[in-house]
Amino acid sequence: MTSNITRNRTAAASPLSRFDIEKIKADFPILNETVNGNRLVYLDNAATSQKPRVVINAIIEYYRKTNANIHRGLHKLAEDATRAYEATRAHTASFIGGVASEEIIFTRGTTESINLVACTWGEENIHEGDEIVITEMEHHANFIPWFMLAKKKKAVIRRIPITVCGHLDLNNIDEIINPRTKLVAVTHMSNVLGTINPIKELAAKAHARKALFLADGAQAAPHLPVDVKDLDVDFYVFSSHKMLGPTGVGVLYARRELLENMPPFNFGGEMISEVSFDRVTWADIPHKFEAGTPNIADVVAYHAALTYLEEIGMENIHRHEMELTGYAIEKLSRIEGIEIQGPQDVTQRGGAISFTDKDLHPHDISTFLDSKGVAIRAGHHCAQPLMRVLGKIATARASLYIYNNEDDIDILCNALVEMRRYFGL
């Protein structure tokens, strides 16, 4: 591929060489695939990330050597499986800043984690006239559960608006977060605009009003160092599949006292202490919230994803993505007809880059790019309310991760230029 846009840095001077992207790329088998005759350029990481060999191998190993049901078995496989499953819990607890293992609940994903909080804590603590604060940039997963809860309880949803630059507009924040507020639920990083929100500041405002704070970390945990104690949030939720881990695993972190006082979510095996025909008592946390056989193999393999991320270092990952996002924004904005959504300052945003073409619909952009092997996403990104605020019916979104480099961005940009030619623009 030759670039028809002048590269503004030489490879040697590139700070991206801080870690070896070629080596990282080689860890991801799928990146060797060709799509429509071209090398796969995967830029749909905000939807789901690819998996390094160590994660795939961890799944294989589990099924080949350890597979058993956990927590009740007295045979060796069951003990090994239980130990491996609980080791991931401990690792997850340390990954987000060193909380207690029991404060980590495994779910299917961010969506289920938020629904769990809404159905348990929310069901018991939200009453008529109470207010739940969200923002205009929430993913449906952090909007609809609160919307439905508010409807059921006759509570009120308040929303923090966004500025034209795609930041939260905090001008009226002390009116929006007020004494009636019971919960503030905000995405740590927007999956559409890339905006990184001031979680610590907002959590402090919520706590000043005696409200709780939930941060949706689906887009942040994969890309930034996260310390839930420093952020001082009450709930933090994220998905394994967006951070190199398997599908079907999500995390809910909540403070111990909250978990201890919340009623269970699902009912069944493993989450009870004693059951008779007239009486049921619950198991201790975290088991109280994990009814039935969990997604054992994938939880076990998620361990390998966390280790892989830590070996590279979350700080390094963040720095790499900041630089690459800057490079991408600069190149994209030089393409005729392309308009970028969200903040331009890379210190205040992550690598989910939404853009539109003044003439072409995002669906056509995505289909065209696919023919060049470039995978991006087009649509409302499960954020229809935000689309209305932006006045768009859809956007195209390229989203970056550790294995992406300047080449990938160059291929994307060249394809966009070619696309406009193809459609005769």
């Binding site: 429509n36 289909t367 065209f368 649509g379 019916i393 859809a394 459609f423 005769g424």
Partner: protein, 163 residues
């Protein structure tokens, strides 16, 4: 597979996309119908002026905020349906649905442009885009025949519902 890209965006499709027919709003219309495709946000609005015989679709206006496929499909509709009877219009719409469902159908020469929609079948997620104009038409005609003067509203999700 750049070949199949050209199959989706055939010359006829690109032509309809670049200069869509039926662009001009109608002074008078007897049928108005709005369609949308929630999964991608496409919106399409359709107006039909009927002839005095209450049977011929005299003129048609299609306004589409959507991708190349939904725009071109709407433009093809405007071109082919104009001057047709209610019965013919419905038959053509049903033919399009069958084409997009992947059935092996012969397209008569008179409806030649419909052939261009066959390329969409290789792109399953785009089928709804191509369908949008046609389900909007079907809903509008149904409303007209039932004697309702009100606006028809349809979504491609509802359509799928009935499959």
């Amino acid at each position: 597979m750049s070949q199949s890209l050209d199959d989706l965006y055939r010359e006829i499709i690109l032509d309809h996309y670049r200069s869509p027919r039926g662009k001009k709003p109608l002074a008078h219309f007897d049928i108005i119908s709005d369609g949308h495709n929630p999964s991608c946000g496409d919106e399409l609005s359709l107006e039909v002026e009927m002839d005095k015989d209450h049977n011929t679709l005299k003129d048609i206006h299609v306004d589409c905020k959507g991708c190349a496929i939904s725009t071109a499909s709407g433009s093809i509709l405007a071109e082919l349906i104009k001057g047709k009877s209610l019965e013919e219009a419905k038959q053509i719409a049903e033919l399009v649905k069958r084409i997009l469902k992947g059935e092996e159908v012969e397209v008569p020469d008179s409806l030649g442009d419909l052939d261009a929609l066959k390329g969409v079948r290789q792109f399953p997620v785009r089928i709804k885009c191509a369908l949008l104009a046609w389900v909007t038409l079907i809903e509008g005609l149904k409303n007209y025949e039932n004697g309702k003067g009100d606006k028809a509203v349809v979504s491609t999700e509802d359509e799928e519902n009935k499959k």
